[in-house]
């Protein structure tokens, strides 16, 4: 019998082994032994390791007993979302104070009811499938992640860093994600064929200031979005780790994140109004809105729809802002 932390569970030799840590302090050792974290399992269940029942070896450690990962808190304008929380739990938690938060918009329609009850924030970030309904909003929100490594050391990184450099997350456990608590002035669009579909792309739009978090994870310095290069009408694209300049509040400009593009996602800063978004395909290079063909739809078409939806989102936000100002 393998060692099990739970005396009620018996695992035969040669089986895929399972560990059930009760405390976070047990995790580093499991990581160093090569165990794979299991959150909701919705991705892992499709892996060859599980699918091929005749293959033997390796194992998972289940995160469901780790209370820390189920924590949700709100303080100083920042939401801390435990990595073990499911999409449904995140929606429920955030809805208690902001029903229009971009994460509520995005996650309440993601996948299906049953899957929203299983997909965890941590698992979703760690695998970052192109169809994720979580990634776009997190990037737009400039979320910070707290990670735990196999030596027991905790570290912090920005969501984009994590996505761009997969070595950052290797052999680490995501503990939580931090996002701004206020993100109700937002637009979210998912390109799907039917409701229960994995998006071909997503569009998340937030006013620029939203992503600059007052207090970042682990006391680290907040990083905002690189400011657009000054001139009106220009759009700046970032694709890697963002610059260090904190923008605070740059009134009248928006952060637009499109996932599902070539290279997975693009983040644009669009100054002031919808009319500034380039409409001509020849500007594609500059704004980086290129899509691969997906599900029978051409990349050109997807790009066209993305541009339409970005424009509509910006118009909507502008209109809302206009109404807000006139009040």
């Amino acid at each position: 019998m393998n060692k099990s932390t739970d005396p009620e569970i018996h695992i035969e030799r040669g089986e895929l082994s399972w560990r059930y840590p009760q405390k976070l302090s047990e995790v580093p050792e499991l990581l160093s032994e090569g165990y794979i974290p299991h959150g909701g399992g919705t991705t892992l269940v499709k892996t060859p390791l599980v699918k091929s029942k005749v293959k033997r070896g390796r194992g998972f450690f289940d995160l469901s007993r780790l209370k820390e990962l189920k924590a949700f808190s709100l303080s100083g304008g920042t939401c801390t979302i435990g990595a073990g929380l499911t999409y449904a739990e995140v929606v429920t938690n955030i809805s208690t104070f902001d029903i229009n938060h971009i994460l509520v918009k995005a996650l309440s329609r993601a996948a299906s009811n049953a899957l929203r009850n299983r997909i965890t924030i941590g698992g979703s970030i760690a695998t970052f499938p192109v169809w994720s309904d979580l990634a776009g909003p997190l990037i737009a929100l400039n979320s910070r992640l707290k990670l735990l490594d196999s030596s027991g050391k905790e570290s912090t990184c920005g969501i984009e860093e994590y996505f761009k450099d997969r070595s950052i997350g290797r052999n680490k456990l995501i503990l939580y994600a931090e996002v701004p608590a206020s993100a109700s002035v937002s637009y979210y669009y998912r390109e799907v064929r039917t409701r229960f579909d994995y998006p071909l792309f997503t569009v998340s739009i937030l006013p620029s200031g939203t992503g600059g978090m007052a207090k970042a994870a682990g006391g680290a310095e907040a990083t905002g979005i690189a400011k657009a290069a000054g001139s009106v009408g220009a759009t700046a694209a970032t694709s890697g780790p963002v610059g260090s300049e904190s923008t605070g509040d740059s009134a009248g400009s928006y952060i637009v994140v499109v996932t599902g593009t070539r290279g997975k996602y693009r983040k644009l800063q669009v100054a002031s109004s919808a009319s500034n978004l380039p409409k001509q395909p020849d500007e594609t290079e500059k704004t980086g809105l290129q899509f691969p063909d997906r599900q029978g739809m051409s990349g050109e078409y997807l790009e066209h729809v993305a541009r339409v939806q970005i424009r509509r989102g910006l118009e909507m936000l502008e209109k809302a802002a206009g109404q807000g100002r006139s009040k």
């Binding site: 091929s52 029942k53 005749v54 299906s112 064929r193 039917t194 409701r195 229960f196 579909d197 994995y198 599900q295 029978g296 739809m297 051409s298 078409y301 066209h304 729809v305 339409v308 509509r312």
Partner: protein, 779 residues
């Protein structure tokens, strides 16, 4: 007893709860995969990963050496009898072009071998270890090019038609039709203008939630028992017997509860293989297809190209109509002739005043997945073309399509030469329409959708969405006349209950319930006094099975006839008991009542008397029905859609169906048939499609990639059952199972045109396709 109008019915026309609803709601009802069968082995197929090739060698040595592998079947060690997997009446109109395993593989997903093992996992692992050496052959994927001389021939190994029909494998033609009447050339000459268009519909999967599954075992008397998710248990028995050379008397086929069929289980796909395993190994066996296998290797809706040419006078009169259909059957010719035939036979009689009609059609082989029966059965493809053509004609003439359709459709007391000219594999049967409430369907449907307030108004919604409305009308049939046969037997029990045995196959439709309602109406007992047992070839009499919209009309007629015999017997026994002439007696609420004295005797007493006291016999009867005609149900369907002019996205807002199905035996179940078909039709029109790579491999064989609607996707749906009575049907009933799937695609296409002025000639109306149409109009 004379037929009565529906208000007088006690059990027919009532929303009786389904007889199996209690057990289904409790999760107790057993489906094929739910039986406990001991000591079972599992069969897993190895499929071809090339589209066309000849097998040089199959090396099973490594696979056989795996612990738990019992045997591996392939073309080298199994019977090579030619047959058709189409579950049709004998002799089948589909070509005999299929073998259990063939030395030639004809599409990616064709069967190469069957691994039998102690567990499914081991069988799957072993299937991966079989080495197949192919001589690859050229393949053809474009069905519009299948007949070209340089396209490879797909069947050239002695395949043959079982009945004398045009079968030309040397041209890749699996079936061919050419019928007509009048003078088509003259007709076109007389016309003021010609409208000619080509329409195309795509592959689709039935998507029954229960994947195909079959099991076999020897019972304690050594008989081969097959438990299977089938729509056609008697055809399955016959085909297994023929393919494996086992006498019919040694085979029992049982259909338990089945998780949807829609035509996909009118196909004898798995039964011969589980039988083969059990015969060869002596062990119980099971094969269950994965969802991917269902998509790729079971059956599909046949893609079809329909070219319609109509000659039209300024008055609106259609002087001639030519329909030219080309159907893709994929690698095997299942339902090749009959689905093709239905594209004409279910569509062309609708406008029966057209003096000259020609219908030509060909079904071709390609190296793609296999077509088969699918709800609508060719009529779906035919009506897609027809209803758009009528929309185009009336728009050209500036006529109101509502009034136009009402003017030209077939009416009560009328006939169409098509009925006689076009049957299923042979000539059809002439018939005069006895019930047609299509005018009322059109009017009530139009009122419900708000036709005149919405048509042509192009209401603008937020963000560039524009609305439009469209209509489609149609008819289907009620079984195949003089071919489909259903039968029933009933016996009475001494508590006044009855065992109702029917060969008919309830695939979720509720046929067990409506057949019980028909018997209950004749016998005037509550439906719960009918103990229904259906679809067990050892216990129930023959029925062709659940297809061709036949069950209510054909099997229902058999049940009614049978129940009438029982009623006669009951009255005779009661006559003895009451000492009164039969003519003075009638049945009422489970009793026989004397008209003179008002004295009554209960069914329970009557049966007890007949079993133990006077004139001792079991009150029992059997009856069969073959119907000399196939009265069509009629339907008018209306779609309201919104189109995003910037992106081409189409959102169905409302969908109305007004249907004349004769007397609905059970209105809730009849509505359920319409609603299910409507949503399947909408989903097919908008999102469902098979996508293939260059090697003919389906690239989206999962519900994640092949999208069908779930609850949030549906529009507001309204179903109107128009009052109607078909005198030849049981208690006035016609069919309702298929008809409603035909209207959504053309109604939506017509609504899109109404909204944005572009015509979609090909399904599905994916956003990009609509967008391209919008763009090409701009240019």
């Amino acid at each position: 007893m004379a037929e009565k109008i529906s208000d007088d019915f006690n059990y027919v026309g009532k929303p009786v709860r389904k007889v199996d609803s209690l057990s289904l709601a409790r999760g107790e009802a057993r489906f094929t995969d739910d039986y406990d069968i001991q000591n079972e082995v599992y069969g897993v197929f190895l499929y071809s990963d090339i589209p066309h090739g000849r097998i040089r060698e199959i090396d099973t040595a490594e696979a056989l050496s795996i612990d738990g592998v019992i045997d591996i079947f392939h073309h080298g060690n199994t019977p090579n009898t030619l047959y058709t997997s189409a579950g049709q009446g004998y002799p089948e109109p589909s070509p005999y072009d299929t073998r259990l395993f063939d030395s030639v593989v004809r599409f990616v997903g064709d069967r190469v071998a069957l691994v039998v093992a102690e567990s499914e996992e081991v069988a799957r692992e072993a299937a991966g270890k079989i080495k197949v050496n192919y001589e690859e052959l050229p393949a053809v994927f474009d069905y519009e090019r299948a007949e070209e001389p340089d396209s490879p021939r797909i069947h050239a190994d002695g395949e043959f038609p079982k009945i004398p029909v045009a079968y030309l494998p040397e041209k890749n033609i699996a079936a061919k039709i050419d019928i007509g009447f009048g003078n088509i050339d003259e007709g076109f000459k007389e016309a003021d203008f010609i409208v000619e268009n080509t329409y195309r519909m795509q592959y689709a999967s039935h998507c029954a939630t229960e994947p195909h599954v079959a099991r076999a075992y020897y019972d304690d008397r050594g008989r081969l028992t097959i438990v299977t998710a089938t729509q056609v248990p008697f055809h399955a028995r016959r085909i297994v017997s023929m393919v494996l050379g086992i006498p019919i008397s040694s085979i029992r086929v049982i259909k338990p509860r089945i998780g949807g069929g829609f035509g996909g289980k009118q196909e004898v796909i798995l039964e011969p293989y589980v039988a083969l395993i059990t015969v060869r190994t002596g062990r119980a066996s099971r094969i269950k297809l994965s969802r991917k296998e269902v998509f790729v290797s079971s059956r599909t809706r046949h893609p079809m190209r329909v070219r319609l040419k109509t000659g039209v006078k300024k008055s609106g009169e259609i002087t001639a109509l030519e329909m030219d259909a080309l159907m893709n059957n994929g690698a095997y010719g299942s339902h090749a002739l009959t689905v093709l035939s239905n594209a004409g036979s279910k569509v062309l009689p609708l406008f029966n005043k057209i003096p000259s009609i020609r219908f030509r059609g060909e079904t071709v082989y390609t190296n793609l997945p296999v077509g088969g029966a699918y709800r609508g059965y060719g009529a779906t493809q035919g009506y897609f073309a027809f209803n758009q053509q009528i929309d185009i004609i009336t728009r050209k003439l500036g006529l109101d399509i509502i009034e136009y359709c009402k003017k030209w459709h077939i009416r009560e007391g009328e006939t169409s030469k098509i009925f006689e000219a076009l049957g299923e594999g042979k000539e059809g049967v002439s018939q005069v329409i006895k019930s047609c409430k299509l005018d009322e369907c059109i009017d009530r449907g139009a009122a419900e959708i708000g036709w005149y307030e919405k048509r042509g108004k192009r209401r603008k919604l937020d963000n560039g969405w524009v609305t439009g409305v469209g209509m489609a009308i149609g008819m289907q049939g009620s079984g195949i006349p003089l071919i489909d046969m259903g039968s029933a037997s009933i016996k009475m029990n001494e508590d006044g209950s009855f065992n109702l045995f029917i060969g008919a196959t309830d695939l979720g439709t509720g046929s067990d319930t409506i057949l019980a309602q028909i018997a209950a109406e004749v016998l005037q007992v509550p439906v719960d006094k009918m103990i229904v047992l259906s679809s067990d070839t050892d216990l129930t009499p023959f029925d062709v099975g659940a297809y061709a919209s036949s069950t209510t009309y054909v099997s229902g007629s058999a049940v009614k006839k049978c129940a009438e015999k029982i009623r006669k017997d009951i009255l005779e026994v009661a006559s003895q008991m009451l000492g009164e002439e039969v003519s003075g007696l009638k049945v009422k609420e489970g009793t026989v009542v004397s008209g003179k004295t008002g004295e009554s005797v209960s069914y329970s007493d009557i049966c007890t008397y007949s079993l133990y006291q006077g004139g001792q016999h079991q009150i029992q009867a059997e009856a069969s029905s073959v119907m000399p005609e196939s009265p069509p149900p009629f339907i008018a369907q209306f779609a309201e859609v919104a189109v995003d002019v910037e992106t081409g996205k189409v959102k169905p807002l409302r969908f109305v169906s007004a249907v004349d199905c004769g007397q609905a035996i059970n209105p809730v179940l009849a509505e359920g048939q319409v609603e299910g078909a409507v949503v399947n039709g909408i989903s097919y029109a908008l999102t469902e499609e098979y996508r293939f790579d260059k090697k003919g491999r389906m690239v989206n064989p999962s519900f994640g990639n092949y999208k069908i609607f779930t609850a949030p996707d549906i529009p507001e749906i309204k179903t109107i059952l128009v009052e109607s009575y078909e005198e030849t049907g049981p208690f006035g009933a016609k069919s309702v199972g298929e008809i409603a799937i035909n209207g959504p695609a053309p109604a939506i296409a017509n609504a899109i045109y109404d909204a944005v002025g572009v015509r979609l000639f090909e399904t599905p109306f994916t956003p990009e396709r609509v967008f391209k149409a919008l763009k090409s109009r701009e240019e």
